[in-house]
């Protein structure tokens, strides 16, 4: 039969890599010319102490998407203050995929992101505020509705409010009803706001 049996361990040694795997060597390998070496270094650095700064430093200049993705996963696993700050910094990047990857990563860190969410929603840059609302989309945190309500009550930018009201269509309760009504008054010339607020209100009323 041409189907042959061969166990992975029989075809390769468990760890045949030639490079050093200690933390200091792994940090140096983050700057290696070979993306595979950088990727594996980032992967193995997860278990090392105090390496968020090194990972962030690499992330800022890394152009290979496969290495970047591993660094973002590693930062998400580490989830220390430095790592979260680095993810926030990615929200300001002009690189769309890096930004989206950071948003996805932040969605998985409710406890770490919650203390900084107020600041993000009050950021001077409306794009950053929209991305913060995007993070709320899947954030498992009890304050999500409160944050969204505050956005539609206060944010002057129609696109930020439109993003928030979309999400309130899913998570909104009677707590947000009045704010939704007022939102329509705040943007009387924006048919989308009216449409989305009406859907959210309809869903709230049906509960």
């Amino acid at each position: 039969m041409p189907i042959v049996k061969k166990a992975p361990a029989a075809s390769r040694d468990q760890d045949e890599r030639e490079l050093q795997r200690d933390c200091a060597s792994l940090v140096l390998q983050l700057a290696d010319g070979d993306p595979t070496t950088r990727r594996w270094a980032a992967k193995d650095l997860v278990g090392c102490p105090d390496v968020s700064a090194a990972l962030i430093g690499r992330l800022r200049q890394e152009r290979d998407p496969s290495v970047r993705e591993i660094i973002l996963t590693a930062l998400t696993q580490r989830a220390d203050a430095q790592a979260v700050a680095a993810l926030v910094e990615c929200l300001r990047s002009e690189d769309v995929s890096l930004r989206n990857e950071a948003i996805e990563a932040m969605k998985t860190l409710p406890d770490e992101v919650a203390p900084i969410m107020g600041g993000l929603l009050g950021d001077a840059d409306p794009d950053v505020r929209i991305f913060a609302v995007n993070v709320l989309e899947s954030l498992r945190h009890e304050l999500v509705e409160q944050w969204l309500k505050e956005v539609i009550e206060r944010d002057p930018h129609v696109n930020v409010c439109a993003t928030a009201v979309d999400l309130l269509g899913e998570v909104g309760t009677s707590y947000s009803r009045e704010a939704l009504e007022k939102l329509k008054e705040r943007f009387p010339d924006e048919p989308y706001i009216r449409f989305a607020a009406d859907i959210a209100l309809k869903r709230i009323c049906s509960n």
Binding site: I3, R39, P65, T73, S138, R140, H141, T173
Partner: protein, 280 residues
């Protein structure tokens, strides 16, 4: 307890949320199926209303209830030739492309995970032997892994109920199985063809040796993972695949919602995901 009703708006809201979280889409025809399961879980969690239950699903930090509901909403049943269109895609499109571009004569390597009780890897073996002319020319290695040693033992023994084999063509049942008790046992020849190994996909030490695969089947597993674990699994598969290698997911799963590293390839029989050929 008063009967729990799920309103139309509730259904729509749930449907959007559940699709975003799992990639599983329910059309209106599935309304009764969905409503019944939601009502069941509302009662089991003592949530009393759809709204309370939805808040639990949406905000529970552990995500435990979403997992319970996902299990309930998915048919966790495995049988021979399940989602056969992907095996068709394997022999009609994936393997011809791989063999055309392969620069050496080393065996084609296929990783099937999770093995569960073995129906998938044995189906792959049978499909190759029966429907892929290239098998005359190429050697193939099939490695199948699972975290559960008990189920791996079951897979190695290859004993199945009549229900497991009900979708197999009669001639293949006769060719590759023999009667055993109330059911069937897969032939020794086929059992000898698949290597079963224990692997925890989340353990880097476990997966490090799994490299240089041409095709990976990982169907209906990632829907049970949280977001971070899905990303780690996607990274693991990326490292395990040859550049240009293919990843086959379950019908309700989508890699584009997990990682941007793979390229979606639409073949006549199925959509699968490919590690870019230029990747290292």
């Amino acid at each position: 307890m008063a009967e729990i009703t799920i309103g139309k708006e509730d259904f729509l809201k749930f449907r959007e949320f559940f699709y975003r979280k799992t990639g599983i889409q329910f059309d209106d025809a599935k309304r009764y199926f969905v409503d019944r399961r939601l009502a069941e879980r509302i009662e089991a969690t003592d949530s009393r209303s759809f709204r309370n239950y939805f808040m639990l699903l949406r905000f529970e930090a552990s995500g435990e209830e979403l997992q319970t509901l996902t299990n309930l909403m998915t048919v966790n049943e495995t049988y021979f030739f399940r989602e056969e269109y992907q095996f068709k895609c394997l022999v009609n499109s994936i393997l011809p492309e791989i063999t055309t571009q392969k620069k050496d004569s080393r065996p084609i390597r296929i990783w099937s995970m999770p093995s569960s009780s073995g129906e998938e890897p044995y189906s792959i073996a049978m499909y190759l032997l029966e429907y892929w002319p290239g098998i005359e020319k190429w050697d193939v290695e099939i490695i199948s892994s699972d975290i559960d040693t008990k189920i791996l033992g079951q897979a190695r023994r290859g004993l199945y109920s009549p229900r497991s084999v009900q979708h197999l063509p009669k001639n293949l049942l006769a060719k590759y199985f023999k009667a055993a008790g109330d059911g069937f046992q897969v032939s020794e020849e086929l059992r000898e063809a698949v290597e079963f190994t224990r692997v925890n996909l989340m353990n880097q030490a476990d997966v490090r040796a799994y490299r240089e695969f041409d095709v990976i089947f990982c169907r209906n597993l990632l829907i049970y993972f949280d977001d971070l674990s899905r990303r780690q699994a996607a990274d693991t598969f990326y490292d395990a695949l040859h550049p240009g290698g293919f990843l086959c997911l379950g019908h309700s799963e989508s890699m584009s919602r997990i990682s941007s590293l793979y390229k979606a390839r639409k073949f006549a029989d199925s959509v699968v995901y490919q590690k870019p050929k230029e990747a290292r």
